[in-house]
């Protein structure tokens, strides 16, 4: 077991201002960045604010940026860094800071409110739901999401353009629209809600320029862009830009 002193730069401050503060801190074999942050709390900076929970990559609380990249503190092993390297830890930079490494992620909870919920099918009681595995596979992938909001943080649409936050739901919540649109028993259509169309009209799907940063940061390995956002764009095209599909659905509706 070998330990060494690592150099850390941790952002400290609040909404009023702040800056990167240097620390020298012990690192032991097998530790992750969150361990080091905890050691700083226990030894040098007892009031260093950080959000964390399960410490096993399952809850998505400890999102921050390490050397400029959005990551989970608990899933970033110290062994991926050079011992000589100075490791910079900052809060998520797309959201308002509260204190130190803690940011106000309220944006995401407001967006969650904007996505219409699952619409249960009429006339199907509890216990009567029948769905096949191949029909739920797609939505199940999206439901692996631990809501760490790293995709929301890295997405340049809102990261670099605060003003887009009103119009754009972000990858996590567009993926939620896709999840519901692909849910085999979601009865939104019957209730008059067209999820494919509203994805573009109300949740800002058009802002996405599919540069795949959301997929790159996803700690769950969800293929957000390929499996959720692009299919959703294609579904929007069905509704809005494809006369063939549009005509086909008209005819089918008439005949059925």
């Amino acid at each position: 077991m070998s330990s060494y002193e690592a150099r850390f730069r941790v952002w400290r401050g609040d909404i009023e201002g702040g800056g990167l503060k240097d620390f020298e801190v012990e690192v032991n074999d097998g530790e992750v960045v969150l361990d080091i942050v905890h050691r700083l709390q226990a030894t040098q900076a007892p009031d260093l604010a950080v959000r964390w929970n399960c410490k096993a990559g399952k809850c998505g609380s400890c999102s921050a940026e390490i050397n400029g990249r959005p990551r989970l503190l608990c899933m970033t092993r110290m062994s991926v860094f050079d011992r000589e390297e100075t490791i910079t830890v900052t809060p998520l930079r797309a959201f308002p800071v509260i204190r130190d490494l803690v940011t106000d992620v309220g944006f995401n909870y407001r967006k969650a409110w904007e996505i219409p919920a699952f619409v249960p099918p009429e006339g199907v009681g509890p216990g009567e739901y029948r769905m096949f595995q191949e029909d739920v596979d797609r939505s199940q992938e999206f439901r692996k999401c631990i809501e760490c909001f790293l995709c929301q943080d890295t997405c340049h649409v809102v990261r670099d353009h605060e003003e887009n936050k009103t119009a754009f739901a972000g990858p996590r919540f567009l993926m939620r629209v896709a999840e519901l649109d692909m849910h085999p028993l979601d009865a939104a259509e019957e209730s008059g809600l067209d999820r494919g169309r509203t994805a573009q009209d109300e949740h800002g799907l058009g802002y996405c320029n599919i540069t795949k940063c959301c997929t790159e940061v996803c700690p769950e390995g969800i293929k957000i862009t390929d499996n959720a956002l692009i299919p959703l764009k294609e579904r929007a095209v069905d509704r809005k830009y494809d006369p063939l599909v549009w005509l086909g659905s008209k005819i089918r509706r008439r005949s059925s």
Partner: protein, 645 residues
């Protein structure tokens, strides 16, 4: 003083895990304006860590399954100490609770014919666990979260405000339940973000705060598990039940330090993994207790054959019940035959080809690869017991989830006691959350609606006292301390507490060690009075920990005292000096209550204990439920007079 912000609600739910959210949904649907308070962000509760599934006798995988069988399994698992009416309600209602989740959008894994798939699990006679891969807890919490969002959307359509009838107070901690006489009148809480205090006035409070694992050094639990709800109830005058029963899972990771305690799933052993000590010996063969001698293999060859041919061979002793395996590992390590990091070796690499391991145990492969740099297809894992779950908890009424002795206080989930007896079966925790979460919400809403004589007022003195108590860590450095002691670092105190509980009230217990633990706890209690923090109230983790210490110390004392009292070994309580299960203890509950019933901790001499213990005889099991068992089986558990009553 008391210029704290105040709000009026009908029902306040403390905790936003499975039980808390289910309670909130029910209360809101019954018309109560409901507030949920949680320490973390909404949707991050510890429930996400649950992997296996939700036990419910839906009979999708085996048509013979029904609630009676589930009830029987639960009672056997709990060694007949369960509050039987809870176990009955749980078994009866679990299927409805699971099906209901589907109508809220949950997507479970499916059977061939499109129903919810169910998997086998330890102690369950039939495949019974509804699951989503190995992330069932996440599915559960997300579904409940999204149901809450959908209710808020409804409210928004009607009132223009998402939070008019159901509001989640994220990252807030409740430090006191306020009372008017014997009745609940609200809660005192602070926002972690700002440090601001606030009071929610409400006649009904549902406690759903989960467990106590953070009092132990090695645990699979998250930082939130500081026994807050247990302590809140205790301080409000509600007794805790059977706190000595703490489940240790035999296989948690022991290295690296960062992940010590994280669970290694039981299916590793189920699929052929074996346990070895530092001599390379499969030591479990030396630990088969007499009662299981007939059911387990005597040689490695026979055990190995079982995987292929279970009908003609006996299973390997690695698959003994959790408590047996945990104790065996513990003994090996104590005898100096442990692995370099203080565990034993769990090896699949020599048992299966690499691609089979990756296919069958994908999450374990990743967990070790990413967190420990261990390739489990090439080398052995190091594992050791880890504190996992507390069976004990707030004593509640089986039907209504109402806490005993405090009108308006309810409890559900891990924080409530009784349901699981002395040992919980895998899969029964998620169903417990749903069944009793719903009941707690339902009866809390009803209690509020039925209040004819008006709502209990909030007593300003209590609010002032609670505020002073919460602020005390900031004044620890003031020269008022007569002895001139330096302030204590809350992190140090926490570490010492964890070490004490781990070493002295851990998996194997001895009278002398527990007495020593109580002394140590008394000392820590005194020092905790001086726990001081730097900085200010805005998101200050040192301060939060200093406040949580009160709860951990209280709960730890309950565990230690109850464990010292119960002179037998049963389920999650193992006494080296009393190694057998005693029928005379079968119908005895141990209740912890505060020694000072006013709940004012400062008034009690810190050196003396703050907990008083009482024994109580349980209600006899209803005859028709007893009739579900064979006589020969009952004889093993029940005292003669119970049998013939």
């Amino acid at each position: 003083m008391s210029v704290v912000d105040r709000q009026e609600w009908d029902v306040v739910v403390v905790g936003a895990g499975g039980a808390g959210l289910r309670a909130a949904i029910e209360a809101r649907e019954r018309g109560a304006r409901t507030a949920v308070i949680c320490k973390s962000l909404f949707g991050k509760a510890h429930t996400v860590m649950a992997e296996g599934g939700i036990a419910a006798a839906m009979a999708n995988a085996n048509e013979h399954d029904n609630w009676q069988v589930h009830f029987r399994d639960t009672l056997r698992g709990g060694k007949f100490l369960n509050q039987w009416r809870m176990a009955e309600l749980h078994a009866q209602e679990a299927p409805d609770r699971v099906w209901e989740l589907e109508t809220w959008g949950a997507l479970f894994d499916r059977t061939e014919d499109g129903r919810i798939s169910q998997r086998n699990f330890g102690g369950h006679e039939y495949p019974r666990l509804a699951h989503v891969g190995d992330r069932t807890g996440l599915e559960l919490i997300r579904t409940l979260q999204q149901k809450i969002v959908s209710l808020q959307q409804e409210d928004h359509r009607e009132t223009g405000d998402h939070e008019s009838r159901l509001k989640v107070f994220q990252e807030c901690t409740v430090t006191r339940v306020l009372k008017d006489g014997s009745r609940v009148s609200g809660v005192f809480a602070y926002e972690r973000e700002t440090g601001r205090f606030f009071v929610l006035r409400a006649p009904a409070v549902v406690i759903a705060t989960g467990g106590i694992g953070k009092s132990f050094k090695v645990t699979s639990n998250s930082w939130e598990y500081t026994g807050d709800g247990h302590a809140l109830a205790l301080l409000a005058g509600a007794p805790l039940l059977n706190m000595e029963f703490v489940q240790f899972h035999p296989t948690g990771m022991v290295w690296p330090p960062s992940v010590k305690g994280i669970l290694v799933t039981e299916s590793v052993r189920g699929d052929g993994g074996v346990l070895r000590n530092s001599d390379g010996k499969r030591f479990m063969f030396d630990y088969v207790p007499d009662v299981f001698k007939e059911k387990y293999a005597e040689s490695e060859e026979e055990g190995d054959r079982w995987y292929e041919d279970p009908d003609h061979n006996r299973r390997p002793p690695e698959l003994l019940p959790r408590d047996e395996v945990a104790r065996a590992i513990n003994s090996e390590v104590k005898a100096g035959r442990g692995s370099p990091h203080g565990g034993v070796f769990l090896d699949v690499s020599t048992r299966m080809p690499a691609e089979v391991i990756k296919r069958r145990l994908p999450s374990m492969y990743h967990q070790f690869k990413e967190l420990a740099d261990v390739d489990i297809t090439a080398e052995a894992m190091e594992v050791g017991p880890t504190c996992h779950y507390v069976m004990g908890g707030i004593a509640v009424d089986s039907e209504t989830a109402a806490a005993r002795g405090v009108p308006g206080l309810f409890a559900a989930g891990e924080v409530a006691g009784g349901m699981h007896g002395s040992n919980r079966l895998g899969g029964n925790s998620l169903s417990d959350l749903l069944v009793f979460g719903r009941r707690a919400g339902l009866y809390a809403a009803r209690y509020t609606a039925d209040l004819a004589a008006g709502r209990p007022p909030v007593d300003d003195d209590q609010v002032d006292a609670a505020a002073a108590e919460a602020l005390r860590p900031f004044s620890a450095e003031s020269p008022e301390d007569p002895a001139g002691h330096a302030p204590e670092n809350p992190y140090t105190l926490h570490q010492e507490l964890q070490q004490t509980m781990n070493d002295l009230v851990g998996i194997i217990r001895r009278e002398g060690e527990m007495e020593h633990a109580l002394e140590k706890l008394a000392e820590l209690r005194v020092r905790a009075q001086r726990a001081g923090v730097e900085g200010h109230r805005q998101f200050n983790p040192g301060w939060h920990l200093a406040l949580d210490l009160r709860n951990m110390l209280l709960v730890s004392e309950c565990v230690a005292r109850a464990a010292l009292e119960r002179t037998e070994s049963r389920g999650g309580h193992t006494r080296e000096d009393h190694p057998t299960m005693e029928r005379a203890w079968r119908n005895v509950n141990l209740l912890c209550a505060p020694a000072d019933p006013t709940g004012v901790l400062a008034a009690t001499d810190p050196a003396r204990g703050r907990i008083s213990l009482t024994r109580e005889t349980t209600e006899p099991i209803r005859a028709d439920l007893l009739a579900l068992f064979e006589k020969e089986e009952l004889v093993k558990y029940l005292a003669e007079e119970e049998l013939y009553e």
